[in-house]
Symmetry: C4
Subunit: 231 residues, 4 copies
């Protein structure tokens, strides 16, 4: 995965509505331990490979790069620190996550393509940090968020959005898309009656079905095509 | 109906949101008994005539074609086996079907263009096969799904999507589009009060009104135009 | 208003989702009493000026035109017959009308731009004609629908769509667009509590505000622009 | 900020669905006290720099400009009169505001990007002016609306839309977009249970987070890109 792929991931997420003016996606640096790749401060829709910067474990720009970074880069720094298995992190601004976060409602998978997410908890920055702008602006806040994520694949942020992680860039992007799809459908399903969510065993078995090489590439190619035909 | 038509059906279904990265559509082979045409493993949005493969009654690729097939081709194999009247099969991933499947709610036609679907039952793979990835990955699962379809035109798959069949490619595609429209509208109508669905007699009379040569061609030309102007 | 305008009206209505593969719009013939202009049987999205035919008061094609007409042209014939003030008729297939029709719920204006519609009643073809395909296929059915419309501007058709009339082509098109907008918003508003609809006096005063020359032209130009930039 | 920026603001608001055929956006004149810039009567989607007119404190066109103005220019005149801190005014026709206005429901921020709006009250023109077309057509009505706005950032207009103000053109546009986003999400969130809205302290802290130079420019560039790629 290259800077080209990360730039494409930005545009895919914008095109699918996972991010809007805000939100971002990062990639663990393939060679430099504890470092990660993340765009400078610009909307994901506009990110090009040249916008990608390198950040260190403390969330500070590496190599003397003085371009303006995202204020919330600490989300990424803290998760790469606590989760060695994570290769990519999406900070989602998907609108359909908001109703769940602000009502303290976990998102649970009801559609097989969202199965790998398992149960997605809600993190409220106010629980530990009181009144803030709701933004994650330092490493302590990032670590608190990462702790709520735990060993999971996603976590909601109350009144803000959420985070989705993956062991590959594709996995993180695909799961970020289907988290919002699943949330939107759960709202509708509840209108009809009690919902049967995926069982633990079904969640377990869904990993390969959606995130193995073949289906993940198929989904990625599909999202890429949509970027190409929209633009 | 040719491979060109089948490729176009793929693009129509993608453009109307019936399929996304996943889902597919097949056509009974016009000349080889028990065989059917289906794309290799690629998202419907990207299917071209050259992607179409031939499969035998057992769901295995014919003519030594070694390209990667869809894992779920057994949906098609089992239905062509049990339903000699069926000429085309759509495996729908339409989002609006999900709320009904996960709550065990049948879809019933409330709009005349969805009349030919009649009452659409829900199939839950877990009833007979326990915990799975929710994918139909062998002929036994396909046959169980086909049994639930029975002599009907459509069946929902819990947490996954659904299947729509037709005695022509156009009929299957048009009904797959209107199944999702009808499902979405039923969710809204229930908010207003008890819904008057089409009566059995109205369902019967709706067949010609929507699936006769003239209206079916009109709908097909319309969906085709939308593909052309979107791309 | 010319055939060019009527063709444009077709494309506007398709672009705004008032019609899909089905539905149509007609114009009273400016010179021939009791006659009206309506496209041959083709989806509104595809209508060009050359597709426009002339029909007589009985709903039959005039001038020996043998092209296939819409089955439901009797909707238009009956309304022009009973309503001398009506200059244009839209047969709407707007999806958001369906929940109201199938629950027997009148649409009442809650947004000022829909004010001129007043209260929109529901017509159920089954009340007088029993089980049908829900299509209006003869002049008796058309007259029954026109009677339900009465002196109003719109009427819903259960499980099918609706009709919107106007004293100009622009008025009918604009009101058809805002009928669907109003219906969709009413569904949402009811979730929040009792709705304050426009009073009778507000309805009366809304006519000039939205349908006078200046605002009607502004709306028409806007819808035309959307057709131009979408195509 | 120039006429070019104001024309772009018009197109951004149209593209994001904040305005449709109707609605408008104005800018306080940078040099002439009490005057403001506002397009002639044309839909925002079509506004070009040449359409911008200058209006005086009484809402009358300045400099002998005889082009047809918006009927509702008094909204702007009254607000600039009462609020010296306001630099730009958006008259929103965002559909998602309607359900709140017609049920007398305040909009409260639940997503951080809408935080600066604070609590948005409802103004009903009928309270003081009785039955009208719901349009603001004179300076008295404008002043009554401005009084309801008070020192706030936004106010809903029952059955019509709303107004959003800002201390810059960007701020007004961004807040107008997020007001509709927030309203739409509140409708959904209420389905899940009691909603936790932003606290007063969180509202206070959200100003810089979303409206400071860096985030405001990022949002503006994003909305501009969407206009460019859509057109």
């Amino acid at each position: 995965m290259s800077r080209q792929d990360l730039a494409l991931a930005n545009r895919i997420l914008a095109n699918e509505g996972v991010v809007d003016a805000f939100g971002h996606v990062s990639l663990r640096h393939p060679d430099r331990p504890g470092h990660f790749l993340l765009s400078r401060s610009v909307s994901p829709e506009l990110v090009t490979p040249d916008d990608i910067m390198v950040f260190g474990p403390d969330g500070q720009a590496a190599d003397g790069d003085t371009r303006a970074p995202y204020l919330e880069r600490f989300i990424h720094a803290a998760i790469y620190e606590q989760r060695p298995d994570v290769v990519a992190v999406v900070h989602s601004h998907a609108h359909d996550l908001i109703p769940f976060g602000v009502t303290g409602t976990e998102v649970r998978p009801l559609i097989h393509v969202a199965g790998p997410l398992g149960t997605v908890p809600v993190w409220d920055i106010a629980d530990r940090f009181g009144e803030t702008s709701l933004l994650v602006t330092n490493i302590e806040q990032g670590r608190d968020l990462a702790a709520r994520l735990g060993s999971g694949r996603a976590v909601l942020m109350r009144g803000h959005g959420g985070v989705v992680v993956g062991d590959s860039l594709r996995a993180a992007v695909i799961m970020a898309v289907y988290l919002q799809v699943n949330a939107g459908l759960d709202l509708k399903a509840r209108q009809l009656g009690p919902v049967r969510y995926l069982s633990d065993g079904e969640v377990e078995l869904s990993f390969d079905a959606i995130l193995a090489e073949v289906p993940a590439r198929r989904a990625w190619d599909y999202f890429k095509r949509r970027v190409d035909t929209h633009a």
